[in-house]
Structures are given as structure tokens and as C-alpha cells.
């Protein structure tokens, strides 16, 4: 890999990272590097400064408090997959993390990196959207919580400000009431389409991977289910209002077809 030239700073604390971001215009955070470095290789990103937060062990944790689970942003996928707390209290996150990429990716990639990268083809953002997770951002003037529904603002764009870092993700303790199903042509590939289904507060939330510029809630499915439609009828609404991409992994039509099939399977997994 031969990226453009960049400067490098190692942040010792989260606040130091925030400070570095505030002082530099064109800085990017580096955690596991599994999203950012490929972009730099292809020159889709050429930041002037990389602020390395990869060694902030203070941001790697999974804790339960007040009926929700708090996950440190630097928790690696491998640790999510192996977490007893998650397996018991919010299994869909652990199960999804287990299926991300390959072992190398799971040992380097972090949940915070995946979320802030905001790639609509990533698995965890979709699951978090379905879970109505809260993202905790820390900036120069302190912390704020951002609802998942407000977090993913565009293709590779999030509500995080240039001088903020994501420190924590909070998800509800739903036990096993969640499922994530994805399809890829080849093992370990990005999802061609993925579907998360979650039971939360008496409703069924459904969210979609790779069906538009951001992870999306499948509003048509949710409304149909709320109105009492059966799984098959509701699943047929999965692609409503979406604008999936066309590429070598599938045309937009194929993705729309997959969205319905996978929604049905996710809902069945939820019931199973």
C-alpha cells in the first residue's frame, strides 16, 4: 500500500484525541484501520493527519447498567463476538460481530470504527439502527448522545462533528430477541444485502444493510407487521422506499428481491 503522505500522532487519552482533532483541519481518527486504510490506499481519503486512538484501552469494554449495555467504541469485533454479557443480554450484536469479515478483520476492526465509517454495507450499523442504539460522542465541550436514527446521515457520513470522537455505544438489553441475516456470494465478503430484525418495546424493528446510502429502517415492513400482516406479506415490503446500488455483487433489482427474502428469514429467525 502506498498512501499519500500524512502526519501521525498517537493519542494517550480520549481527551487528547479530541484536542488533536480540534487543532487540525484535516485529521482522521485511526482505530483498527480496517475501513480507513483501504480508503487511503485508493486515495478516496487522504487526511493530512492520522490521530491513532488504537491504544486507548479505556474505550474497550462491555458493561451492563440500568437495562442497557454500554460498549466502548474501541471494542474489537472479536471481543464483541466472545462477550458473555452480549451473548446473554443482546446476542444479536455478538452474533453479527462473529460474521464480520475474517479473523484478521475481527481482531483489528472496532465497533466504533465500523459505526463512524458509516458504510451502508457494514453489518453493525444496521443492527444498531434496528436496536435504536445511542451513540455517545465526546467533543471539546463534553459528551452528547446521538440516536442511531440521527447518526447515519449519508454515504460514509455520520452526525459526528470533525472534533468529536465516538466513545460509547448503548444498546437495549433485549436478550435473544434479535436476528441478523446477510447474503454474500463469497464467504467473508461485504453483505450484498443484510437484514436485522429486533423485538423492542413490543414492536418489531427491521433495518437493512446495503439498500441505500445509509443503513435504513424497513418502514414498510414495520408498518405492515404493526398492522397485523403475516411475515410473508410484510417481507414483501422490504425494498419499499429504498434505492439499492447496482454492482458486481448484484443489481438493484436483485438486491430488492434479496431484501424481501432475507427479511422473511430474519423474521422467521426471530420467531424461531
Amino acid at each position: 500500500m502506498i498512501p499519500s503522505q500524512f502526519d501521525y500522532e498517537l493519542a494517550g487519552t480520549a481527551d487528547e484525541a479530541v484536542g488533536l482533532l480540534s487543532q487540525h483541519d484535516d485529521a482522521k481518527l485511526l482505530a483498527g484501520g480496517h475501513s480507513l486504510l483501504p480508503l487511503m490506499r485508493l486515495r478516496f481519503a487522504s487526511p493530512a493527519l492520522l490521530v491513532d486512538i488504537g491504544r486507548l484501552s479505556e474505550l474497550s469494554y462491555i458493561k451492563e447498567a440500568d437495562g442497557s449495555i454500554a460498549i466502548g467504541a474501541l471494542t474489537r469485533h472479536h471481543d464483541l463476538a466472545g462477550s458473555d454479557v452480549l451473548r446473554e443480554r443482546c446476542a444479536v450484536i455478538a452474533e453479527t460481530a462473529e460474521g464480520i469479515g475474517d479473523p484478521q478483520v475481527r481482531h483489528r476492526g472496532t465497533i466504533g470504527g465500523s459505526v463512524t465509517h458509516s458504510d451502508p454495507a457494514s453489518d453493525l450499523p444496521t443492527v444498531l439502527l434496528a436496536l435504536e442504539a445511542e451513540m455517545v460522542a465526546r467533543g471539546p465541550s463534553g459528551e452528547r448522545a446521538i440516536a442511531a436514527a440521527d447518526f447515519f446521515t449519508g454515504f460514509l457520513e455520520s452526525a459526528l462533528r470533525d472534533n468529536e470522537i465516538l466513545t460509547e455505544i448503548r444498546v437495549p438489553a433485549i436478550g435473544s430477541a434479535g436476528a441478523y441475516v446477510k447474503f454474500n456470494r463469497r464467504a467473508q465478503d461485504w453483505a450484498t444485502v443484510g437484514v436485522a430484525a429486533v423485538r423492542l418495546n413490543g414492536a418489531t424493528n427491521v433495518a437493512l444493510t446495503n439498500m441505500g446510502a445509509t443503513p435504513l429502517r424497513a418502514a414498510g415492513v414495520e408498518e405492515a407487521l404493526a398492522a397485523g400482516a403475516d411475515t410473508a406479506a410484510a417481507s414483501a415490503q422490504a425494498a419499499n422506499g429504498t434505492s439499492p446500488p447496482s454492482d458486481t455483487n448484484g443489481s438493484a433489482e436483485y438486491r430488492a428481491h434479496l431484501a424481501s427474502i432475507l427479511t422473511k428469514r430474519a423474521l422467521e429467525a426471530l420467531d424461531g
Binding site: 463469497r186 464467504a187 428481491h257
Partner: protein, 755 residues
């Protein structure tokens, strides 16, 4: 422990490769070397109207810039049609136009940017249909003036035409109860060597010394000399550890440019392809169309066979005119075909040149033949395995070109495979959307010649000096030293193997076509036997024993049954120095000619099989009818290897071939659009991963070859060949609809299901 034939003797390069200490071509550096880079065309067709390098040479650190003016010659493996740098006309995206060498990589890049290049676009003949259309522009207007080493038929945009006619084809079709026709289409297939092409050249004492990542050093030597217009002995090729070949590194690519830059700059020059350059200039397996029609009787006898193969050659011939000649053999040498009428056309297009890739055109000729066999069987209501058993070759049958085949192991292979995975039989019910497919193939072992020498060292070890090239198969790292060790009674690790070096070792026909053990192995065996002879003579004198009573084992020569009467090979070697001279042997080998019906075929220089091996593959798949996904549940291979020399190495090659075949069948597709390459990285060009690989059962058969060392045949090339056919037959069986193109994607499966 003394090595024997049939042991899983370990690789001598294994530890270095696993630990990362092996020195690959990309690691190789010479003192004060320069960084070379190549300016390549970004358009697939055009006329060069301006090429000005005057600014580039002024850039600090730039020591050489070369263009077609510096090397006007052409070269070609068969047809002499290709320049080092485009001359006036550009014929494919990625074609080299100029090259630079500079002190740093960045200076070399800057020099490329400073070259002023203007190209007036020409109509792009991006597909075979366009290039073959009535009145199409000629890619090579001077094609008639090109030299052709074999005088094979050509015509305009057809770079080669192969014709085979045997028997009365019209009568066969007139007599048939059924005529069954199919058309098949296959994609381009990239070798995807992890190590890109890379070479370092220097000019020294009037000769070019080139360290390069190649699988056929003597061909690169000859080609480089041909391009440069020098004697072949003025080029020396040395091969560091090679990071993958698969057929893609047989012909010269970067070497002539590196040699020119080295001579011009007076410094060593290293050229490395980027991954994108690999995809653009890697000589992939060609995209092709195969049309087959069979005249059959109601009980499944084939009376006649008509077929046509269209192969996309890309812009220049390379080895492809040779490969084309194999098409009729591969389409017509599994089953008794009756009368045959076959034509293959190799078509020039404005696309990157295609070339050999493990199994060459056999992968898709077999796909076509075996899909077609299933079609015939299904049409006639005959069980697909039974149809094969009725028609498959047995001893004494004649190949498509009239070669009489002996030692045909098809029936054995079908039977042995059935013991591992019993064939479900006609109409046996399986789960819905599960299917099973088999595919049979014969394959040739390349019979290019080889020489080698072996010397007994003064410490009792041996050194093998050969230009046989290790490209990962284990043939040189495992098999050849095993032959030497077994002959001389040495331990694994007591045989040192030289690097391939055209200055040092005898000619070798390259790591291709499964030939290294088959041909180099026989030369090595001859050399080792000479050494053995000398050792036995010397030991007999020393031990005052009869030569016939001696055996070589554990590094000693000893009287069989009298272990106290022995002498070490080290002592023999040292004593011989002053009695008769160093203990050394030379071996050389070429294949005896094979007779065939010379009148039946034109345009082919690969008319017969040597070291023919026989293969049956079986795939069980499950199709998801909603997503179109294909899952391979199980895979089994029955392969005739002649003689099992090293079972571990053989299994490794079979697993690798099957996996590469799975990629070809399901995932890989090097796409082009109007001559522009759409895939130039592994983000979009998808290779199978470990998790995509099914469990693979392997059954080895030994139908010994009369020529190969200890009866061995080529092993490593063939296992890729029947994979696409076996999988496509299984998928077609699972969905009850024909799949006649690859790769088999979820989209094509759904389309077939909904058809």
C-alpha cells in the same frame, strides 16, 4: 531416514516460505539499482500521433527512457506479431508504449507523467463478434508478412485456424435418431499470482543478466533475445523464489524492457508490475464460445460430432496458437465420437492478450463436453453415469487425431469414485434443489525436453543442477530431490537443488503442463543413475565386493545382508576425486515421437497426448432457489497419476486445482467493456476463500506411464479441468434447467430457474 519413492518427503523450501525468509523476485535487489516504470496505453485502440520523451529525460534522477525506436523488433511464440513497445498503433489497454528508469520510484513516476503522448482513437474491436464481422478493420494490417514458426493457417483477424476432420460427418448426422446441440460461453480467468511479475536486469560484459519471476527461464531467455535481436546466449536468466505462476509467467513480459533500460542507463533496473498492471497484462485464460452438435442413436451411441470453438486471443498471439490446437483433442477424446468435424478460431481483438492458465482451454472444452454429455443422457433418458460408461474410452480407442490410447483408466476411475461416493442412479430422489454432477477428462502431460546433472559432494550429500523451476507445486522442492535421494540412498535434506539459471544448467521446458516430474524427473533420474553407477563401481572396489551385492541406503554403500561391510558416500566421493575424478552424472530426456493420423488435422502443433492421465470429478451441490446461491456440499476426485511419487504433494496439488476450479465455476470473471478492463484488483475480482471450499475426497489411481520416471505422469495441472463441468452438471441437476455459461452466479441461477 532414507527417502523412498512413494514417501511424503518434505519440501526443501517449506520452512523459508512459512517463515517469510524465502527471497522472491520482488525481494531481490542489486547494488545501485534503478526503479523502472512502464508507460501503458489507457485506450484499447488508437494511432500514436505524438510521443515526446524530451521533457522526461530532463527530470533529475532519470537515467533512461526507451520507446519502440530503441527496440523495433517483434517476437512471438508462434506468430511474430508483438513489439516490446507499441509501434505507431496501440492494440490494447495496458500495452507498453515507453519505459523509464530513475534513481527513485517517485522520479520514475514523474518521468512517466512528463512523456507527451497523443493517441488518435481507432474503432475498438472489443469482442470476437466485432473482430469477425464482415469487413471488420484488421488489427494487424500486415499480418501476412509476420513470420510464423509453424506455418499455421491464419486469416486477417483470425490468429489461428484449427481444423480436424475424421470420418463421414454428413452420413453420421443423416443416420442419427437425435441431433443434440448446445452453445456454451465462458469468461476470462486471471491467474492471480500473489507475486506480480517482477524482474531485475543488468548489462554486464556485453550480456544481459536478468533475475526474474518466471516459470520457464529458457523461453524468457529466447524471447528476450528475440526482442533485442541478440544471441540467446547473450541473455542469462536466473530465477529467485517464484510467488505463483499458473501459466501466466511463461513468456517474456517485463524482461526486454528492463534489459533495454539497464543497457541504456548502465545500472541494474528493477521493474515491478502493480496489481492493476497484472490484471491488464497478465495473459489470462481467454473468454470463449463453444458450439457442439452430436448425432446420436436412441441407445446413446454417438455417431458424429460437430464443434466450433471461438477463442479470444486479445491483441497478440503469444502461446495461444499452440493452445488452440488442443481444442479438438479435448472435446473429442473422452468418448467415442464417431465422425468428427471440428474448427477452432483464435480471434484477435482490441483486448489484453490472453495466454496459458493451468489447464488452458481444457477447462472450458471439458465444461462444454461434459455439460453436453449430460444433455444427451437426459434427452435420451439414460442415466448420466451409465451414458458415460457406454461411450467412454477404453484401451485401444483412438484419440480425435487417431492416436491409439493404452492404459486408459476412465472405467477404473469411475468405479473407484463410486466406492467413495456411490452414484445415486437415475431417478433416485434427493432433497429438492440438491444435485449431483460428474465430469470426466483426459489430460496431457507436456513433453518438452529437459536436461539435468547431479554431483555427489565430498561430504556425501548430492547437488542437483537443473533449470526446472519451482512455482509452488513441489515438483522441484519435493519431487526432484526425492528422485535423487531415493536413487542414492540419501536422507531428505541431503539433496541440494540449484536455482534455475540458464548459464549453469541444461535446457528445461519450463514448469508447465505438469511436465516437471514427468520430463525433468526422467532427466534427473538419468543423472542420478549415472552417479549411482559411479558410486557402486567405486564402493565395489573399496569393499572388494560384487557390484550386484551392493545397496545404497542411509548415506552408505553396503553389502546387502552384511552391515559391517560398508563405506560412506562421503568416503566414496573423496576417494573418487583422486581415482577417477569427481562423481558427477548428467541426464537428458526427450519424449519419443507418438504416431497419429497426420492427415486429419491442420493448424495444430499439439496433436497427440503424452503421459495421458484420466480423471473423474464429482460434485454435490445445493441451490437456494430464493437467492440463487450455490453451496458445494461435497467434492470428490479420482485421478490417475501414473505412479504415486509423493502422496502429500499430489493431494496438495489436487486440493489447489479444485479450489481454483471452484473460483472459475462460481466467482471469477475478468470483465471487459469495449476493450476496457473492468476488474483490476481483488476488490472486484473475487477469488474463493478457505470458507468457500467444500470437503474434498481424493482417490489416486496408478496407470503407469511407459515413459515417465517410475511410471509417473503429470499431476498438478489437471485437477482444475473438470471442476466447472462437475459443478455445472450438479447445479443443472439441482434446478432441472441447463447452466451453460460460467461463472455460475446467483443471478444466472435465478434466471435459469425462472426461465
Amino acid at each position: 531416514m532414507t527417502v523412498a519413492i512413494g514417501d511424503s518427503s518434505p519440501r526443501i523450501d517449506g520452512e523459508a516460505k512459512v517463515r517469510g525468509t524465502a527471497l522472491y523476485g520482488i525481494d531481490y535487489e542489486e547494488p545501485h539499482y534503478l526503479h523502472g516504470k512502464i508507460l501503458r496505453s489507457t485506450v484499447p485502440a488508437g494511432r500514436i500521433t505524438k510521443l515526446d520523451t524530451s521533457e522526461a529525460v530532463k527530470i533529475p534522477g532519470v537515467l533512461a527512457v526507451v520507446t519502440a525506436e530503441d527496440v523495433p523488433g517483434r517476437w512471438g511464440h508462434v506468430t511474430v506479431d508483438q513489439p516490446v513497445f507499441a509501434t505507431d498503433v496501440v492494440r490494447y489497454e495496458g500495452e507498453p508504449i515507453a519505459a523509464v528508469a530513475a534513481e527513485t520510484w517517485n522520479q520514475a513516476r514523474a518521468a512517466l507523467r512528463a512523456i507527451v503522448l497523443e493517441i488518435e482513437p481507432l474503432e475498438v474491436l472489443g469482442t470476437m463478434q466485432e473482430a469477425m464481422a464482415e469487413g471488420a478493420r484488421l488489427l494487424h494490417p500486415g499480418w501476412e508478412s509476420y513470420r510464423n514458426h509453424f506455418n499455421t493457417p491464419r486469416e486477417g483477424n483470425l490468429a489461428a485456424i484449427v481444423d480436424l476432420r475424421r470420418g463421414d460427418i454428413d452420413a453420421a448426422f443423416a443416420k442419427a435418431n437425435h441431433v443434440i446441440e448446445d452453445e456454451f460461453e465462458v469468461q476470462r480467468h486471471h491467474q492471480a499470482s500473489i507475486e506480480p511479475r517482477v524482474c531485475t536486469a543488468r548489462f554486464e560484459n556485453g550480456r544481459y543478466v536478468i533475475h526474474t519471476s518466471t516459470q520457464w527461464p529458457f523461453n524468457v531467455r529466447d524471447g528476450t533475445a528475440g526482442y533485442l535481436g541478440v544471441r540467446t546466449s547473450d541473455v542469462r536468466i536466473v530465477v529467485p523464489t517464484v510467488g505463483g505462476g499458473f501459466g501466466g509467467k511463461l513468456i517474456p513480459t517485463l524482461e526486454p524492457a528492463a534489459a533495454l533500460l539497464a543497457r541504456r542507463s548502465g545500472r541494474p533496473v528493477k521493474l515491478v508490475n502493480t496489481r492493476k498492471e497484472e490484471f491488464l497484462s497478465g495473459c489470462p485464460r481467454e473468454n470463449a464460445v463453444v458450439r457442439v452438435a452430436s448425432a446420436v442413436t436412441s441407445d446413446g451411441e454417438i455417431l458424429g460430432h460437430r464443434s466450433e470453438v471461438l477463442m479470444d486471443n486479445g491483441a497478440y498471439g503469444g502461446e495461444q496458437p499452440v493452445v488452440a490446437g488442443l481444442a479438438p483433442l479435448m472435446l473429442c477424446s473422452n468418448y467415442r465420437m464417431g465422425a468428427i468435424s471440428h474448427t477452432t478460431k483464435l480471434v484477435y481483438t482490441n483486448t489484453p492478450p490472453t495466454g496459458p492458465f493451468r489447464g488452458v482451454l481444457a477447462t472450458y472444452c471439458n465444461f462444454a463436453l461434459e455439460r453436453h454429455a449430460d444433455h444427451i443422457a437426459n434427452e435420451l433418458g439414460i442415466d448420466r453415469r451409465e451414458f458415460r460408461l457406454r461411450n467412454i474410452y477404453v484401451d485401444g480407442d483412438e484419440s480425435a487425431t487417431g492416436q491409439r490410447l493404452e492404459g486408459v483408466a476412465f472405467s477404473d476411475a469411475l468405479e473407484r469414485l463410486d466406492e467413495v461416493v456411490p452414484w445415486p442412479g437415475l431417478g433416485a430422489r434427493r432433497h429438492p434443489y440438491q444435485g449431483v454432477g460428474i465430469a470426466c477428462t483426459v489430460w496431457n502431460t507436456n513433453s518438452m525436453p529437459s536436461g539435468a546433472s547431479v554431483k555427489l559432494n565430498e561430504d556425501g550429500t548430492a547437488t542437483l543442477i537443473s533449470s526446472a523451476t519451482e512455482i509452488g507445486t513441489g515438483a522441484v522442492a519435493q519431487g526432484l530431490p526425492q528422485i535423487v535421494a531415493a536413487e542414492l540412498g540419501l536422507d531428505a535434506g541431503d539433496v541440494v537443488v540449484s536455482r534455475p539459471d540458464t548459464d549453469l544448467a541444461a535446457y528445461d521446458g519450463g514448469a508447465q503442463g505438469g511436465r516437471t516430474m514427468f520430463m525433468a524427473g526422467e532427466a534427473v533420474l538419468g543423472a542420478a543413475r549415472e552417479v549411482r553407477d559411479q558410486v557402486l563401481d567405486a564402493a565395489a572396489l573399496k569393499l572388494e565386493a560384487d557390484r550386484g551385492d551392493l545397496e545404497l541406503a542411509d548415506g552408505v554403500a553396503r553389502v546387502a545382508g552384511a552391515p559391517d561391510r560398508q563405506v560412506s558416500l562421503a568416503a566414496v566421493a573423496r576417494a573418487e576425486l583422486f581415482r577417477a575424478g569427481p562423481v558427477t552424472g548428467a541426464g537428458r530426456h526427450t519424449h519419443p515421437p507418438v504416431s497419429f493420423d497426420t492427415g486429419c488435422v491442420t493448424g495444430s502443433v499439439m496433436t497427440t497426448f503424452t503421459g495421458a492421465s484420466y480423471h473423474v470429478h464429482l460434485a454435490e451441490v445445493e441451490v437456494d432457489p430464493e437467492t440463487g446461491e450455490v453451496t458445494i456440499l461435497r467434492y470428490a476426485v479420482a485421478q490417475d497419476v501414473g505412479k504415486i511419487l509423493n502422496p502429500q504433494a499430489i493431494r496438495g496439488q489436487i486440493y489447489g486445482g479444485v479450489i481454483q476450479g471452484v473460483g472459475y465455476a462460481l466467482f471469477e470473471d475478468l470483465r471487459l467493456d469495449e476493450g476496457i478492463c473492468l476488474d483490476w484488483g481483488f476488490a472486484s475480482y473475487r477469488l474463493p476463500t478457505a470458507l468457500d471450499v467444500p470437503p474434498i475426497d481424493v482417490v489416486l489411481l496408478e496407470a503407469e506411464d511407459p515413459v515417465g520416471p517410475h511410471g509417473a505422469k503429470g499431476v498438478a495441472e489437471a485437477p482444475i479441468i473438470p471442476v466447472a463441468a462437475a459443478i455445472a452438471n450438479a447445479v443443472s441437476d439441482a434446478i432441472g434447467k441447463p447452466i451453460n455459461s460460467i461463472p455460475i452466479t446467483p443471478f444466472t441461477v435465478l434466471e435459469a430457474l425462472n426461465a
